[in-house]
């Protein structure tokens, strides 16, 4: 199947190709409803998502069962992360001072542009043109690859999923499983068309081909860019977590390592790592521990046979201090980017990540995208939820995600961002329901008017509902009407 025929690729205007032919996100309001409809019609996508996410949840649930203390672990981690965020200045200073003392160079970036400038500047300063990159949602957030390619440097994505997305010119659709929206046939097509390898649908063969092809990129790279899962304040160290080995290679082979880190990703110290690491790997991939955990303390030391000569840490704000200002939404800064909320969300599981039109999709994105990027652009996202609460239930750091969505909806009403018709309807609703006699009086009137909106199937016609479901007519008498009639007052509840 030709990838470009996938409607999520050519159709929806939430992604488009810029003049360099690179995919970027658009600035207009994301129309989630329309995107969701497109996703629902894409049978391939539905099948891929269902298969992939059912498996993810099964693995995670089975592993969680083996931890009798799981709830205590979550509570402790929630308190720990809240404590860090509430004392963020202290921990960031500590982290920065200790890291600097160890020889790690800290670069502070107030926003995405600055972060990209600093990274590009560092690469230029060291005459770097060949860069390898391991997975980092933050680099997606600041749109680093596009910025660097305009400067003539194209970082090569080395995480298998990100690599496949890169060569297909697609954006990742999940924060830890970037190509969960693709089937093996689609991956096989992408790789054979773009890399000139033999068409095969066997994941082992495809992976082996990627290993072979990317090895030379690693060996010839002049700099490696990685994300950071945690920064340890007391030790001034970085922690990078992965399964494939591409982060270790990006960090240790080239002479320069640049780590990108959100300012909120600090932990007090190494002693807190076991808990957060376990919560992260169990929640993200249903693994007891990920394959590789690298704790980076400094550039290569005297006497060590290898390792980078210079290590830079780019600390990125890009709107996080604004979130900090708004106490209501501070809990979202506790997030450790595990993706468990995406996996469990009934809506995400049906529409996939691209429908959210944001770097951060799913329940995490429904809260983070409006508050971090733009309330207007992402105005639809807080409503992309049934409020079932499954996200809150699985969050390893107990962020009350669905409650934050309710807060965002209330904010929309406050800022008059809702349709007038809806505002009027709810005003009327509030008026009527606070006046019992009026409410009861209107009951009879509405029942007289009911025949006007009868639908063919015998029920009522309700816009938005009746296209897909039957809606029952009102009961001939409401319960209260029956109760208040004499028969009921005598406690004769004849059934």
């Amino acid at each position: 199947m030709n990838i470009t025929e996938n409607p999520l690729w050519t159709g929806p205007p939430f992604q488009r190709k810029n003049d360099q032919g690179k995919v970027e996100l658009m600035k207009e309001r994301v129309n989630f409803s329309r995107n969701a409809e497109i996703s629902l019609k894409n049978k391939n996508l539905q099948r891929n998502l269902d298969y992939s996410l059912t498996l993810s949840n099964k693995k995670r649930n089975e592993l969680v069962e083996t931890f009798p203390e799981w709830e205590e672990m979550r509570s402790h981690a929630a308190q720990l992360r809240t404590h860090v965020v509430e004392n963020l200045e202290k921990y960031l200073r500590e982290f920065s001072d200790n890291a600097t003392q160890k020889g790690l160079q800290i670069l502070w970036a107030k926003d995405a542009t600055r972060a990209c400038e600093l990274i590009a500047g560092t690469l230029r300063e060291h005459h770097v043109s060949r860069v390898v990159k391991s997975k980092s949602m933050l680099t997606e957030e600041i749109d680093l690859n596009n910025y660097l390619s305009k400067q003539g440097i194209t970082p090569i994505e080395t995480d298998l999923g990100e690599y496949i997305a890169q060569i297909a010119s697609q954006k990742p659709s999940h924060i830890t499983a970037p190509i969960s929206h693709l089937s093996r046939q689609e991956v096989a097509s992408i790789m054979s068309e773009n890399l000139g390898i033999r068409y095969t649908e066997d994941p082992a063969e495809l992976t082996s081909a990627a290993r072979r092809i990317l090895r030379s990129s690693f060996l010839s790279a002049e700099a490696g860019i990685s994300g950071t899962n945690f920064g340890l304040a007391r030790e001034g160290s970085l922690v990078v977590v992965e399964n494939e080995g591409n982060a270790r290679l990006s960090i240790s082979l080239p002479p320069i390592h640049i780590a990108v880190m959100g300012i909120e990703r600090v932990l007090p110290g190494l002693a807190d790592l076991p808990l957060l690491l376990t919560l992260l790997t169990v929640s993200a991939t249903g693994q007891r521990i990920s394959n590789y955990v690298s704790i980076i303390n400094s550039p290569s030391k005297q006497g060590e046979p290898d390792g980078p000569e210079k290590v830079f840490i780019v600390l990125v704000d890009n709107g996080r201090t604004e979130i900090l200002r708004n106490v209501k939404y501070r809990p979202i800064l506790n997030c450790i980017r595990c993706g468990a909320c995406l996996n469990i969300c009934p809506v995400y599981r049906k529409v996939g990540g691209h429908a959210y039109g944001s770097v951060y999709p799913g329940p995490l994105g429904a809260v983070l995208s409006p508050v971090l990027f733009s309330r207007t652009q992402y105005r639809d996202l807080p409503y992309a939820s049934t409020l079932c609460g499954a996200c809150t239930e699985v969050c390893p750091v107990k962020i009350p995600l669905h409650h934050l969505l309710l807060d965002l909806r209330a904010d929309n009403v406050q800022s008059s961002a809702r349709p007038t018709v809806e505002r009027i309807m709810f005003s009327i609703f509030g008026l009527i329901c606070s006046r019992p006699r009026l409410y009861r009086g209107l009951e009879k009137i509405i029942r007289c008017l009911q025949p006007l909106i009868r639908s063919r199937d015998g029920g009522l016609f309700i816009p938005g509902w009746s296209k897909t479901r039957y809606f029952p007519g009102l009961a001939p008498q409401s319960f209260h009407a029956q109760w208040q009639s004499e028969k009921m007052e005598n406690n004769d509840i004849s059934l």
Binding site: A390, L406, A410, F479, H480
Partner: protein, 266 residues
Amino acid sequence: MKAAAKISLFVPCLVDQFYPDIAKHVMAVLSSLGYSVEVPREQTCCGQPAFNAGYRTEASRLARHFIATFNRAECIVAPSGSCVSMVKNHYQKLDLARQDVEQWGKIRSTIHEFSDFLIKHHAESSMKGQFPFRVYYHASCHSLRELGIRNAGFKLLSRFEGIELIDATPALESCCGFGGIFSLHHPLLAEQLGIDKIRSVEFSPSTFLVVNDAGCLLHMTGVIKHLQSKIIPLHLASILALAMGLERNEYYGKPTLDRATLSAKE
């Protein structure tokens, strides 16, 4: 609880307007267990639809009204996890006067979701009956997650002779797709989630789909009829009334059970 024995019933708006039989069934069950049930006349709505849509001013109004209506109740029972969750967990976010807040504090501890109330106060022996059918029980997301009521419905239903209950698994705990205004904003998504749920009910296979919230019931019934599925959707209160022999109405009980027997044979 026996000592107090007077219950104030809160009737959720969907039950009041669309499914009044559910309220009658709740009353029948509670009466048969020896309680006297009163229905405060002034009650209207807990305010959840407004709150969920972000209209906190309107929701506050309704919350104040609810508190005023129920502030003297000894024990409030509502056949809806979402209404009880609204009162217990979200009223604190609303604009309430100080005395409202105090009264709310008391209401919080006296309001119960119907299945939760029954399981906490009634030993197995007092609720007996027959229900020889296969039942798929779907606990509403609010009762599961906001109120932590995981097994109440199961335990209640398992008391009945002959009943075959489909075991609880994580898949069973997934949302039916109603989500209040969600199903109006995103009808196709809501429909798809509903279809998934109904298909898994059919696959189990079951004759009845029992839910403990009228919102889920509204949505699931809508999907069932649209799919022309043979599944019979019922509220938990109704199935309890049927099983305990409290529902004798020839327009309700007998046809329902006849239909069930027929589809079980197929």
